[in-house]
Amino acid sequence: MTIKERLEQISKENLAKIAGSSDVASLNDIKVAILGKKGELTQVLKGMKDVAPEDRPKVGQLVNEARAALEQKLEEKMKEINRRARAEKLKRETIDVTLPGTRKLIGHRHPNQIAVEDLERVFIGMGYEIVSGPEVEYDRNNFELLNIPANHPAKDEQDTFYIQRSASGESRDDILLRTQTSSVQARIMLEASDPTKDRQLPIKILSPGRVFRADEVDATHSPSFHQIEGLVIDKGITMADLKGTLAQFAREFFGEKTKTKLRPHHFPFTEPSAEVDITCFKCGGKGCRVCKGSGWIEILGCGMVHPHVLEMCGIDPEVYSGFAFGIGLERITLLKYEIDDMRLLYENDTRFLGQF
């Protein structure tokens, strides 16, 4: 038998063995039997000394080819076996993916807080600075500087909680629980007009916060609730700017298709004043339970800052003008989430809070 024939025989026999093997161990045995120290191919190589020197390169090539072919086959087979073994393992590892996930206990933002932050985000995007003011206030900031002097009927309308009143009737130095976040307007304007303070004109602020009125607790009233006040003061601010600002706010907060409508109204500290309705965000204006069939929802009060208010706060109304608006936060929260009883907001039952 020539070496060539011998090689062919080895190849043929072993390729068949490889193909027939089905586990890693037998494959390794085959490998040793061919390529090991006493392996068949090794033996062939040992016989190379008997080959004529001129034939040696050719024979060497033949051996290498046979060896490469066998090694390749061995490797392929090894991969195949491993793959099959892994596939079986994976099959055994099948789990019920419909079982529930492992959850960490996560808390929830209070719905009112979610609404505040959503509103803040919209106005921050429009260049507003978020500021705050004290909840216990002087009469002058809550009333007097907002064009609501002593004995003004609007004071009765707002059912003020007083902390302290001067002996002789109402006074600007009375201390009270603020009835409106508009008190921050007065503070900010005074600050901006005071050369010793850092704040300067123009003013563009948003001030969310807690306010108080002597309303008994029921499904739609609370003696403590929240408002968000907006104020812009600059040269050349117009009512058209107010309309544009509120329209943009409404679109960003309530949805791109929301329309706004201003109705004339009266607030002592703005002139002209308006109440603002938006197309119902539940039904889009067709009329539903939320908007009581009208298609519109009242969301805020606003107006051009009254020149007398500017003047009292040290800002020249001949040079500056501005607008202000105030939003009742709970109203927005209740409408948005269709919560039918305001008391739920203050009970803090985790089954309620967990829904937001």
């Binding site: 960490k104 206990l105 996560i106 808390g107 929830h108 933002r109 209070h110 807080q113 803040e120 995007g125 260049g127 600075e129 909840e135 216990v136 206030e137 004995n151 009927p153 009765d156 909680f161 007083y162 902390i163 302290q164 201390i175 629980l177 123009p202 563009k204 807690r210 108080f212 002597a214 003696p223 403590s224 050349g236 601010i237 117009t238 009512m239 058209a240 309309k243 544009g244 600002t245 329209a247 409508k261 201003l262 109705r263 004339p264 109204h265 009266h266 002592p268 002139e271 002209p272 004043s273 308006a274 051009m304 007398h308 003008s321 907001l345 203050y346 803090n348 039952d349 985790t350 809070l353």
Partner: protein
Amino acid sequence: MNTPISWIKAYVPDLDVDIKTFTDEITLSGSHVEGYVERDKNLEKIVVGKIEKIEKHPDADKLVVCQVNVGAETIQIVTGAPNVKEGDLVPTVLDGGRVAGGHDGSPLPEDGIKIKKGKLRGVESFGMMCAIEELGSSRDLFPEAPEDGVYVFPAESGVKPGDDAIEALGLHDAVVEYEITSNRVDCFSIIGMAREAAVTFKKKFVPPVIEVKGSGGNVNDYASVEVVDTDLCRRYCARVVTDLKIGPSPKWMRDRLAAQGIRSINNLVDITNYVMEEYGQPMHAFDLDTVAGHKIVVKRAKDGDKFTTLDGQERTLDSEVLMINDGEKPIGIAGIMGGENSMVTDSISTLLFESACFDGTNIRLSSRRLNLATDAASKFVKGLDPNLALTAINRACQLIEELGCGKVVDGVIDVYPEPVSEKTLPFEPDKMNALLGTDISKEEMLDIFERLELKYNSADNTLTIPTFRQDLLCMADLAEEVARFHGYDNIPVSLPHGESTAGKLSYADRIAGIARDIAESNGFSGAMGYSFESPKVFDKLLLPEDAKERKAVSILNPLGEDFSIMRTVSLNGMMTWLATNYNRRNKYARLYEIANIYIPKSLPLEELPIEKQVLTLGMFGDGDFFTLKGVVEELLEKLAIVDGVSFEPGSSRPYLHPGRQAEIVKGNLKLGFIGQIHPEVGDNYDIKADCYVAALDMELLTKLSSFDRKYEGVAKFPAITRDLALVMDKGIFVGEIEKVIKKTGGKLLESVKLFDVYEGEQVGEGRKSVAFSLTFRDKTKTLEDKDVTTVVDKLLEQLKGMGIEIRG
């Protein structure tokens, strides 16, 4: 404020819009419509029918069969009404028509009730004769209607078969309810609303022409008026009527009053009410024969004076209450209510009419102090135009004459020391356009002003403001008038285009946001509560009598004790909510709140209290002290408040478990506290579970927080770890040992980790074993064992001094 459209139309005769357009448009021009009632809602095919013949029903005792002439034909109707008789004219609904409701006056169905021909006990019926309730009305509005049975037109109504019965009853009308703002005193009247409607719809406004014929004589011969306190009574007008004939007022007046919800009394009372509705001016009628000395004196009462008002109540007065007196005694509380002693009765023969302008603020305060709210007072408190007083009294006297109710004596007593004059304001179209952002022509503006009865004086370019518009005081007020009739809808839309500003949250808000995020990521949900609470809270929290927390800001006029002081501790809210959750059988609850407590600098307050924002965390079920402590640690670490922070064991807070509370401090700064709620406090809140709470001063956290981070290279040299198992008395706190380890470990000590605490037999009674893992590393070179050994030996020496041994 309610007005029937029909009454508005009386003064705006050309008004020809439907109710929907009317309410929409007048809302947009500033008179907000809250709602309206169409009085002819669901009333269809209802005509006047004449009962020609009545026969017994063959099979029913309580029914009769009527032949009813409805104009075009005569139809048969079966009815159970007990009051029908031949010849009566009655509202009759025809086959296919509709009525508003049932005859029992129960709530009206939304779509009314359809009427179809049918058989009643076998006899055909082609319609229905209607009771007033079936027409959606009531005997309050139609007192002539029978209590039980169909409505019968009175003979004087002049109706004939086939007429529109709804028209005949004046029900083709709607009553509109407005929300009038406090600045528009003039709109609390039919005249005011009619003027608004006329301007809104660009129609002619035709107010009544007031003319009093008079019957001779001189009012000054009958009575005299003296106003002592002119500061509270700017004007007092009086007229005298003789030969009074008290009787019913005509139907048109009764109808109009009824639509306003006012019941007809007699012609005299009706006239005063009518004028009050029409012009917004309250008036008062005195029986002149009961007025001593026929003299009226207007002056303040004296403190402690007693006075019986016409409702029979005795009231105690004070020196700020303005009184109407006669020559001897008080006879009425000015602007609020008359006295029993001068009440008008049916036997009156001579009348003194009062129409005055009292100070609104004084009336408001008096009405509040006396706890006496009347319709008249509600008009005065808004601050009436003094010039209205004379108009109204003349209008009333005109009606007295027209209704044949008495003879009006010539002349008016008019005490009006300082007449108001019409103001003028400059006409500044450019400024108005600049404020509104509009380009409205001068002509359009002047047209609006003219319709509002503002007079333009071209000579000096000013506008004269009528006295009934006391709300128009400056350019911005005029701009609003222009805007609302030009239409708010027609103002363009733009955005402020001045200097750009940076939108931002305050730094404190950012810190609060991080606190919320961390609390929520640990299972705590945001809670929201009240700022005021009951002083009983201090007892519930076991605070001693002299606790500084008891020094709280209190509210002068609280809604009750439960809401009477501003909270100085934040725990009451938290405990209340935890208890709510516990008692509703929630297995666990974790809540947080970021809100203020209110600390007075002095009491009574001399300045505003300190408002301290506090983060309060509270929980029960599923977790213990260390669960909560972990949350606090996580927050402090996030805010980079780590160095020098410690949880000092304490026992000073009475509301916390004495052995499970800690003060959270950084150096000498008190960041807050943490602990388990004292079980007695738990009992006070009716919660049996162990509760854990923590409170942190947000202002301090904000001040101490930092986001400056500097990257440090990842360690290049290997670390050496040593585990120490220490045995000690149970009373020694781990925190103390940690402090010693950190101090002694010095620069080489990278970290200390507690990994085991053990108490039990193996270490003996009253002892515990604590195991730490210490990691040492030198950042500049490879550490050698001996370096570490030196440090550890020193450490063990130190610990030994504290009675702590290494576990063998």
